[in-house]
């Protein structure tokens, strides 16, 4: 998995020369970022993480980066960013205290140490988790569980109304349809002739044809009466019994009794 970058003269057993931390024998692919590298360097100090010397750690990291550069190794940018930040931290730690700087270099060092501790803790927790008695490796569930059956009873929803409405629908759709023309209220031409000829005698002045129509709430009948009365008026005009006049398109149709 870990591929050694350094091959040849230096035989490198692991990622880090444990015997001599100063000898940086490193496989870069094996590191999970600068924090991981720092943690490994810190653990090489072989003290509790809370007791590590940050200055020493910083120096080791910077040495590593320097060494990598001299070997013309391409370091990921975040390693260099960390190096820059550590250089800055180092200078702050070494310089006389400047109360203006916030957070103080000591606090910055503390935070770095906290982060290393936290990463270390998570790493250990991960290992402890993986080492637990795990299902399928150490502990087993029942091998041939019959399984609990959940029977899905399909219930079909259809109520009585659906049923008879469907039958009505089928019948309405498929039975021969009997068309019945509804009896409509109409005024026949005869009736209109009678009515108009009876009324025309009183129409000395031009009178709207509507005045000759019977009053009705049924608009269909009204239309029929209008049509029939118009035909009756034409007939009576032909007989010379009345005059018809219309002043323009759609203007009222006026009737007048013709004096003989």
């Amino acid at each position: 998995m870990d591929e050694d970058i350094f091959t040849g003269d230096e035989a490198v057993p692991d990622r880090m020369g444990q015997q001599n931390p100063a000898t940086l024998t490193i496989d870069i692919d094996g590191w999970e970022g600068p924090l991981d590298l720092l943690l490994t360097l810190a653990r090489n100090q072989k003290v509790d993480l809370r007791e590590i010397s940050i200055l020493e750690l910083v120096q080791q990291y910077l040495n590593f980066v320097e060494n990598a550069r001299s070997l013309k190794l391409e370091l990921a940018a975040d390693y260099l960013v960390m190096a820059a930040w550590l250089t800055y931290l180092k200078s702050l730690l070494l310089l006389p205290k400047d109360p203006q700087i916030d957070p103080s270099p000591e606090e910055m060092a503390l935070r770095l140490q906290y982060r290393l501790e936290r990463l270390n803790a998570m790493r250990e927790c991960g290992a402890r988790l993986m080492a637990r008695d795990r299902i399928g490796r150490d502990i087993f569930l029942r091998g041939n569980a019959e399984g609990l059956r959940v029977v899905k009873a399909k219930a079909w929803a259809c109520d009585y109304f659906d049923l008879i409405a469907a039958y009505g629908r089928v019948n309405a759709r498929t039975q021969p349809v009997l068309h019945v023309v509804r009896a409509r209220a109409v005024m026949t031409l005869e009736a209109a002739l009678q009515r108009v000829s009876k009324m025309i005698g009183q129409a000395v002045n031009w009178t709207d044809i509507n005045a000759f129509l019977p009053e009705s709430a049924d608009p269909a009948f009204g239309r029929s009466a209008l049509a029939s009365s118009f035909l009756a008026a034409l007939e009576l005009a032909k007989q010379g019994r009345l005059d018809l006049r219309q002043d323009g398109n759609f203007a009222p149709l006026m009737l007048r009794h013709r004096k003989c």
């Binding site: 087993f140 959940v150 029977v151 259809c158 009505g168 089928v170 309405a172 349809v177 759609f250 009222p252």
Partner: protein
């Protein structure tokens, strides 16, 4: 007799529990080692589990745990899944109910539309329709009728309770076409009223 906490008995118990297949005595021994008296453990376990929710049983030469057979039906959990019948299915059901026994082609003749095989299957699955013999005509087609379950579901004492054509007509269930005509009338009226209105309007102007 081995006690429940005997190490060998515990191992046999665990091995049988975890195994995906029934195990023979030799197979068990391969798991738990030669030091364990497998037969004695099996006997003790069979005794122990007798009458519990689980039992240890032997099938041929192999042993396995299973849930007690008398409980199986109790552990089944029913979950109703209500599904709406398709329009085709409801219509088919209605035709069968009114005309039974009917063959598929008769149903199609009444509906005026072909029915898919699934439609009758659904009705039979629902328990409302069953095949009722064959019609003695060429091709001897299957004929279908409703079941007692159909009457129960729809709250009918007998098929005679189904509303007749007159009832359907009275309920307005037979005249969707008349309804369509009324709708047409209504539209025409709207138009004519407008025309009338125009006439009246010019009237008042005159």
């Amino acid at each position: 007799m081995l006690t429940a906490h005997d190490p060998g008995l515990r191992l046999v118990e665990a091995a049988l529990f975890a195994s995906e297949t029934p195990l023979s005595i030799d197979q068990i021994r391969a798991h738990v080692g030669d030091a364990v008296d497998v037969s004695a453990a099996l006997a003790a376990l069979t005794d122990h589990y007798a009458g519990r929710g689980i039992e240890l049983v032997r099938r041929g030469k192999s042993w396995h745990f299973q849930t007690a057979p008398d409980l199986a039906h109790l552990l089944r959990r029913e979950r109703d899944e209500l599904r709406k019948l398709s329009r085709a299915a409801v219509e088919t059901l209605a035709i069968i109910a009114y005309h039974e026994p009917v063959s598929r082609s008769e149903i199609e003749a009444i509906r005026g539309v072909q029915i898919s095989k699934g439609t009758l299957d659904v009705l039979m699955e629902a328990g409302w329709v069953k095949p009722a013999g064959r019609r003695e005509v060429p091709g001897r087609p299957l004929i279908y009728a409703t079941t007692p379950n159909f009457l129960t579901h729809f709250g009918l004492v007998s098929r005679r309770d189904l509303p007749g054509m007159q009832d359907l007509k009275a309920a307005g269930l037979l005249d969707p076409i008349d309804n369509a005509m009324d709708a047409a009338d209504f539209v025409a009226d709207e138009n004519s009223e407008n025309i009338d209105g125009d006439v009246e309007f010019s009237d008042s102007n005159a």
